[in-house]
């Protein structure tokens, strides 16, 4: 209590008055609540039945059901009640749920392979981009490289192209190389996009590690590579992790390249989700379920990344 008091008197000139704070807090919380509503609506829709999801007026209170999730993971066929009555009793809770709607599960949907694609392409490209980015960033940070500034700008400028424009020649090139709609093709493409972010961010992080540590290690008889591995990398671990998460989020969320360059084999979640359809249009509970599952990891990552968010979104231009 006393500590708080002394603190507030010491800073009374610049610190906001309690009333000003309360007003600010109220407005920010109001904005935060409004901004989060659409996301809460998504999470809620995933637990609605098809008819509740498109009811008028929109339903805030409803009987929660797992139908959306079941529909997301399965392909179903409509049957006559007679046919369903003749079937042996349902083996699982989801069989039962589906039969209540006069349907029978015909097999798994494509969502799991698409999710796996997102994971493989996301982690693959992140690993490559961070690996290449760390090496390049270390070199840019520690050695005198001719035209370093031009090279760094060149690396960044590759991000200025609209993705649709980049996709045109990539499409032609991949067609020649048989890389269209392959995971390898997407990994290479996302690596190329992410490596520019990785180099810029990691250069900032490595710049902050004092050179003296390495120099001491070199004097002790380490080679450059040993010094990098045993001295620099352990200290850059947080930076590398933050960079990796940024790369992963980019690959995870990317839509333009994915929709233009993949159609089946290598399709990731973003182009897949809008095409989750039921009888008569989008199956909104299933779409919401997919969106929830897709978004939850990102929410967790955002919380983890809080401290480095600013750096990440400005390519390291602004540091705190």
């Amino acid at each position: 209590m006393t500590a708080v008091l002394t603190k507030s008197t010491a800073h009374s000139i610049v610190e906001a008055s309690p009333r000003a704070k309360a007003v600010a807090g109220g407005l920010v919380i109001l904005y935060a609540v409004i901004t989060i509503l659409p996301l809460l609506w998504i999470v809620a829709t995933a637990f609605k039945s098809q008819s509740d999801a498109i009811a008028y007026p929109p339903k805030v209170i409803f009987q929660p059901t797992l139908e959306g999730y079941v529909n997301l993971f399965t392909v179903r066929t409509r049957q006559t009640p007679d046919f369903i009555a003749k079937l042996p009793p349902p083996e699982t809770w989801y069989d039962k749920l589906v039969r209540q709607r006069d349907m029978v599960i015909a097999g798994p949907s494509k969502v799991v392979p698409r999710f796996v694609n997102s994971l493989i392409i996301g982690f693959g490209s992140t690993f490559l981009a961070v690996f290449l980015g760390t090496l390049a960033a270390y070199a840019f940070s520690r050695f005198r490289i001719p035209l370093a500034d031009d090279l760094l700008f060149f690396i960044l400028s590759t991000r200025m192209m609209p993705p649709v424009a980049v996709a045109i020649p990539i499409y032609l090139m991949y067609r020649q190389l048989n890389l269209t709609d392959t995971r390898l093709g997407m990994i290479l493409l996302y690596t190329a996009v992410n490596v520019s972010l990785a180099v810029w961010l990691l250069k900032g992080f490595i710049d902050e590690i004092p050179r003296e540590y390495e120099e001491a290690a070199l004097v002790d008889g380490y080679t450059r590579l040993q010094a990098l591995r045993k001295v620099v990398l352990p200290q850059a671990v947080t930076g590398i992790a933050a960079t990796a998460i940024f790369c992963l989020i980019f690959s995870w969320n990317e839509y333009a390249f994915a929709v233009l360059l993949t159609s089946g084999e290598a399709q990731t979640m973003p182009p897949f989700i809008p095409f989750i359809i039921g009888e008569g249009g989008q199956d909104w509970p299933a779409v919401a379920a997919a969106t929830t599952l897709f978004v939850v990891p990102i929410v967790l990552f955002t919380v983890l990344l809080r401290k480095h968010l600013l750096r990440g979104i400005t390519f390291g231009a602004v540091r705190k």
Partner: protein, 307 residues
């Protein structure tokens, strides 16, 4: 002078020379970018002088000189799309700056729990614009969507009397609205860093001089955060000029072509009409525009920073 030279020699004995390492480390990145970015770009420049159409790729490649470029630059439709894009960029960035800066000022008052609420506000910008844009189509449905319902609750306008995505007068504002929802936090975060970079003693001095809060804002806060605001504007403007994913799913350019941003035009030319030569030329025009505008802007930004 002789000291570093000696140690360099010594190092070479123990392992690779620094210069070799530098090149070994930089080369893979440069090689990848050359293969995935530069080589295709050069190829695209070549194609932009041809009449290549992928749906008729059996035709021999015919060079048409600058025809594609003159076609595009004299096409009124393309100019309309560029205008639509410019309006989208200007309005969305302006709104984001106003909201983002305002939020940053409020959060900077450090009320209790501000870091929790800041994280909540930041969430939309981390999500996939495509996936979220797709979901907004449900939120904005005239009959069943909660957005129209809420509006009618507050204004009394019947919820089915307007359609945010289907109406010519509203659709351009809808994409601005959703984009602002996603990206105002981005501007906020950068502005907040700007506000926190201002040392307390400047305000203390102003207080001693009895400068009013209003005066303090105009002569201290705003000028000192200007470089940050400009940086945020730069990043947002480039991103929104490239905008494709959210709008493609939310309105796919419609109704008619009221929200057809130039990226969507490009996608239609390249991947629906398969006019590769033409779309390559358009892509190059866009790239030159962004690159040129960004360069001019960065010069202005550096001037502001130096002041």
């Amino acid at each position: 002078m002789s000291e570093p030279a000696k140690s360099r020699d010594a190092r070479r004995v123990r392992g690779l020379s620094d210069r070799t390492i530098a090149w070994l480390f930089v080369a893979p990145t440069i090689a990848l970018l050359l293969a995935i970015n530069i080589f295709p770009l050069v190829w695209m420049i070549r194609l932009s002088f041809t009449s290549l159409n992928l749906s008729m790729s059996y035709l021999p490649l015919r060079f048409v000189g600058l025809d594609n470029f003159t076609d595009i630059l004299t096409d009124e439709d393309v100019w309309f799309r560029l205008q639509t894009t410019a309006q989208f960029v200007i309005w969305s960035v302006a709104l984001q700056v106003v909201i983002g800066y305002g939020l940053a000022l409020l959060i900077n008052r450090q009320f209790r729990g501000h870091s929790f609420w800041t994280t909540i506000i930041l969430l939309p910008m981390m999500l996939s614009p495509a996936v979220v844009g797709n979901f907004w189509t449900l939120l904005l449905q005239p009959q069943i969507g909660p957005f129209n319902y809420l509006i009618s609750l507050f204004t009394g306008v019947p919820p089915s009397s307007f359609s945010m995505t289907g109406q010519v007068s509203l659709a351009p504002w809808t994409i601005v609205l959703v984009d602002t929802w996603m990206w105002a936090p981005y501007v906020m975060l950068i502005c907040l860093a700007g506000l926190r970079s201002i040392p307390d003693y400047i305000y203390e001095a102003a207080e001693v001089d009895r400068a009013s809060p209003w005066r303090q804002f105009w002569s201290i806060t705003l000028p000192m955060t200007m470089p940050f605001v400009m940086l945020a504007v730069l990043f947002r403007a480039i991103e929104n000029f490239k905008m494709f994913d959210m709008v493609n799913l939310l309105t796919s350019g419609g109704p008619g072509s009221t929200t057809e941003l130039v990226s969507i035009t490009l996608k239609r030319a390249a991947f629906e009409k398969w006019r590769t030569g033409y779309s390559s030329a358009l892509a190059i025009i866009l790239f030159v525009t962004v690159f040129g505008a960004a360069n001019i802007y960065v010069k202005a930004l550096n001037k502001v920073k130096q002041r």
